[in-house]
């Protein structure tokens, strides 16, 4: 038992060693500077901005949601603490935590509606909140609030600025350890995935809104604590401008971009470079050229985004990884070094019989007569267009259902309605009798509906394995289980173990399709919706896809396929449905559907049957 605890402590130390070392360096620098107030103040500013930017990094770097109104949380923290201290005499140490709770609450209230918005709308929406807060605070007479001077520990006020440096170092360590924990957790993976492709993450069972709100709340609460330390350590008197002003987000973004967003060390490095530079400029030439500091920030922003979009740390870490791989290779005596832009030679993709028992698909052995999916009288309209008109469909369990029809017939819309991207105006969708009409895509996925996309939606900057892991996360697996499942699925579908560690962006069309299949399978589906799996593939590859689909049904998974390559489809489809102009015009055995006069007229063409018969 004791040994185990010791081992765990050692493990934690190693994991967070770098953070502890850097924070210790901060303290040593402070010790070396001595009692010089001016330099201690610069150090304090570096630590505070590093903490602020690292907190901001959680939602805006890892989560990719640039919160333009981030000063809302710094300001909330500072104002809550100072007002509680001034009006009620509450110790700032407690006030700081109250401020964090208030900021978290505000983040929840702000985030719930705004995080549904995307890109530009989100950025603009969040900045409205501090701009509403400033005039309100000014109006009630809190434009400027001085902090009552009581030199006591409980009042968080110290004559020696070095006390604040110690507080700021501890704060930075807490923030960085939080960021590191997120980086290594399932939550961190989900954040990265939704940053890459929100639609696909949602379809793979990740509750994107909840993930974003959680990240937002964390960022906000940490930001509020930073705001309090900033107010007490630097400001002495807080004003709505100094705590809620636009300049704060400008600084935060400059520092984060120059250092590197979505990296652990980026914001700290950015702060260590930009803050002293700005302070020295301000004190040296600030009285002659009052805007010099901001001009430097502006120039760094423009140059940084052009020449170093991944930031200083982003660039450095690429080299570090390369050299460590080089070093490792030399130690092991391996010749080939996988560089940052590695491409592997083509490998053989062999599909034998898939064995997906380890997924334990929920409906594999219950071959009852009931249908797995029922679509009852579903209609959907976009403005004046009706892509689905009163669609009725029953999908038998454990079979392959092919869906054909001309472009614009409503095939993909039907899929989007089934797995929850769209809500129909009328009708109901039942999965094994359970109504899923109004459910969101992530809950539909968790109920056992997998999905691949017409235009592949992989997470380009994640590796093959990580892509598949995202699927496994959706069903509530931890990191190690998800990784194990992903490995087995990848192996079953023919990814070599080397290929598993390549980024998805470099995959061929066939591999991308296989990746989508793998990811859908990792969600442990009972039903998989497959949208045009053969588009862009050669006949041989298309055959392989057909084999895989057939293998899925052997493992008890029902498959619905949209496909334009009808010759291939009829080889493995058990039933078929023909759609035209949003209506089901033919259904039954494949032979029946392709002989249906309406389908021939609207889609297949008169000569098709002859050509098919010949081939």
């Amino acid at each position: 038992m004791k040994a185990k605890i010791g081992q765990y402590a050692l493990f934690l130390c190693r994991r967070y060693l770098a953070i502890i070392v850097v924070c210790a360096v901060g303290l040593i620098v402070s010790l070396l500077i001595g009692p010089n107030r001016y330099y201690q103040r610069i150090l304090l500013l570096v630590l505070i901005w590093a903490s602020a930017c690292s907190s901001f990094n959680i939602i805006s770097g890892y989560g990719g949601q640039i919160v333009f109104g981030y000063m809302m949380f710094l300001g909330t923290g500072a104002y809550t603490t100072v007002l509680l201290f001034k009006l009620l005499g509450l110790s700032p140490w407690i006030g700081m935590l109250v401020g964090a709770v208030v900021a978290a609450l505000i983040a929840f209230i702000v985030g719930l509606p705004t995080l549904r918005l995307r890109g530009a709308y989100f950025a603009v929406a969040t900045v409205a909140f501090p701009l509403i807060t400033i005039p309100i605070l000014n109006h009630v007479g809190f434009e400027e609030v001085s902090i009552p001077f009581i030199k006591r520990f409980s009042a968080m006020q110290f004559a020696d600025i070095r006390a604040y440096v110690i507080i700021a170092v501890i704060l930075l360590a807490v923030v960085l350890i939080t960021v590191r924990m997120i980086e290594l957790s399932r939550f961190g993976f989900c954040l990265r995935a939704l940053k890459e492709n929100q639609t696909a993450s949602e379809g793979m069972g990740i509750n994107t809104l909840r993930t974003k709100i959680l990240a937002f709340i964390l960022s906000a609460a940490l930001g509020a604590v930073v705001g309090t330390v900033y107010a007490f350590g630097i400001q002495y008197m807080i004003s709505t401008h100094s705590m809620f002003g636009l300049f704060i987000i400008v600084r935060v973004l400059s520092i984060s971009i120059v250092g590197g967003l979505a990296t652990l060390w980026g914001p700290t490095i950015g702060a260590a470079i930009l803050v002293p530079l700005g302070q020295i400029l301000d004190s040296q030439i600030g009285d002659v050229y009052p805007g010099a500091q901001d001009i430097v920030y502006g120039a760094f922003l423009v140059a940084g985004i052009i020449y170093l979009p991944e930031g200083i740390w982003g660039k450095l870490s690429t080299y570090l990884r390369y050299f460590s791989a080089l070093f490792e290779a030399r130690v092991r005596g391996v010749q080939q070094v996988p560089g940052p832009t590695e491409t592997l030679a083509d490998r053989q993709l062999t599909v034998g019989s898939l064995n997906l028992d380890f997924l334990c698909a929920k409906s594999s052995d219950t071959k009852t007569d009931s249908f797995i999916l029922e679509v009852n009288h579903v209609s959907k309209s976009f403005g004046g267009i009706m892509p689905l008109v009163d669609v009725n469909m029953q999908v038998p369990r454990g079979e392959v259902l092919g869906v054909i029809g001309p472009n614009g017939a409503g095939k993909t819309t039907l899929f989007n309605v089934v797995n929850g991207y769209l809500t129909p105006e009328a009708g109901a969708v039942l999965l094994e009798g359970e109504d899923i009409t109004k459910k969101k895509p992530h809950s539909v996925c968790r109920l056992g509906v997998g999905r691949t996309f017409q235009v592949p939606q992989v997470f380009s900057h994640l590796t093959v394995l990580e892509n598949i892991m995202i699927g496994a996360f959706g069903r509530g697996q931890g990191i190690s289980e998800a990784s194990a499942i992903a490995r087995r699925v990848a192996e079953q579908l023919g990814f070599s173990s080397q290929r598993c560690h390549d980024k998805a962006v470099g995959l061929s069309v066939m591999e991308t399709k296989l990746l989508e299949f793998s990811r859908a399978l990792a969600t442990n589906p009972r039903l998989v919706l497959v949208d045009e799996p053969m588009a862009g593939l050669n006949p041989e590859e298309a055959d392989r896809i057909g084999t895989i689909i057939k293998e899925l049904t052997r493992n008890g998974i029902t498959v619905i396929v949209i496909e334009h390559v009808v010759q291939s489809l009829i080889k493995f489809a058990d039933y078929m449905v023909g759609l035209d102009a949003g209506r089901i015009v033919a259904e039954g055995k494949p032979e029946q559907v392709i002989s249906d006069p309406h389908m021939i007229e609207a889609y297949l063409g008169k000569k098709w049957k002859e050509r098919y018969a010949r081939s």
Partner: protein
């Protein structure tokens, strides 16, 4: 009743002045998908140069220098697009990158103005700056009225340019389907450059007009940039007509809102309405919803 009419009139005048600035912002967002954070800074630059300094140096009336600002800022915008922004637009993550780069422009422009021309608030004092007509008790400012007419002219001109000329149609095509354009032999880069130049030019003109009746300082832009964002979101981000309507809505809320809330809280009313709108109809008044997958 007179008070109410007065507020309607001043709200309309204010709204159109926002509308013309927002039209440039909407054009740039629509074509290049750039959220131009430096937009208001360009307008303030035009308030100083040409409007303020041309009057001071050579006695050129700001209503004349409006038309000098158009070509000068068009070239300025074109160069910025071709030299800097062009390097980072085009991929999926570029929306944040361009927002950040234009934020850098704003810092540079504002602080250079601060260093060069000091932070003193400036005002242009011409015969029309404070003069008013009295229409049945409602006071209408001369400078604002002239500005309104010129602004409407500029917006109509921009609209006609985009719809009736070859280049204008090219720009609209580039906004709609850049890839398709490239295959059809349209020079995308030059279309983007022209669009950004036009957006900046019309904004600069709007800034010159605003300078004829409103005091300003180098950081005046910071106080209106978010209002302009709200304005284009209300109008549907990419629509020029929408920008004008959005401007009118905001101008009227700011003015008529003073009947209900204190003047110091007029922007609270604007942003409250804006947020409400964002939740209910995120695609804006004249915007379209896009297919996701």
């Amino acid at each position: 009743m007179t008070t109410f009419m007065q507020l309607i009139v001043s709200g309309t005048l204010l709204g159109v002045s926002y509308g013309v600035l927002a039209a440039g912002l909407a054009l740039i967002f629509g074509v290049l998908k750039i959220i131009n954070f430096a937009h208001a800074a360009f307008a303030v630059l035009a308030m100083y140069f040409p409007a303020f300094w041309f009057l001071k140096w050579w006695g050129i009336d700001p209503f004349i220098s409006v038309f000098m600002a158009l070509p000068v800022f068009f070239i300025f915008g074109y160069i910025i697009q071709r030299l800097l922004l062009e390097r980072i637009i085009g991929d999926a993550e570029s929306e944040a990158a361009t927002l950040i780069m234009t934020m850098g422009f704003a810092l540079l422009i504002e602080n250079m103005m601060l260093i060069g021309w000091s932070g003193l608030p400036r005002i242009i004092n011409q015969s029309y700056t404070l003069a008013t007509w009295n229409v049945g008790g409602v006071l209408i400012n001369h400078a604002q009225t002239y500005s309104l007419l010129i602004s409407l002219g500029l917006i109509v001109g921009l609209f006609l340019f985009l719809n009736k000329t070859r280049i204008g149609r090219g720009i609209r095509a580039a906004a709609d389907d850049p890839e398709g354009c490239a295959y059809m032999g349209i020079n995308l880069r030059s279309m983007y450059g022209i669009a950004f130049g036009l957006g900046i030019a019309i904004t600069a003109a709007g800034g010159c007009l605003m300078a004829t009746y409103r005091p300003f300082d180098p950081f005046f832009g910071e106080s209106i940039i978010v209002i302009l964002f709200a304005n284009v979101v209300l109008g549907g981000m990419t629509s020029i007509a929408g920008a004008l309507i959005g401007g009118l809505i905001i101008g009227l809320i700011q003015q008529v809102g003073t009947l209900v809330v204190p003047v110091s809280l007029q922007n609270v009313a604007v942003f409250a309405v804006f947020l409400l709108f964002l939740y209910l109809r995120p695609q804006g008044l004249l915007g379209k919803r896009e297919r996701e997958i």
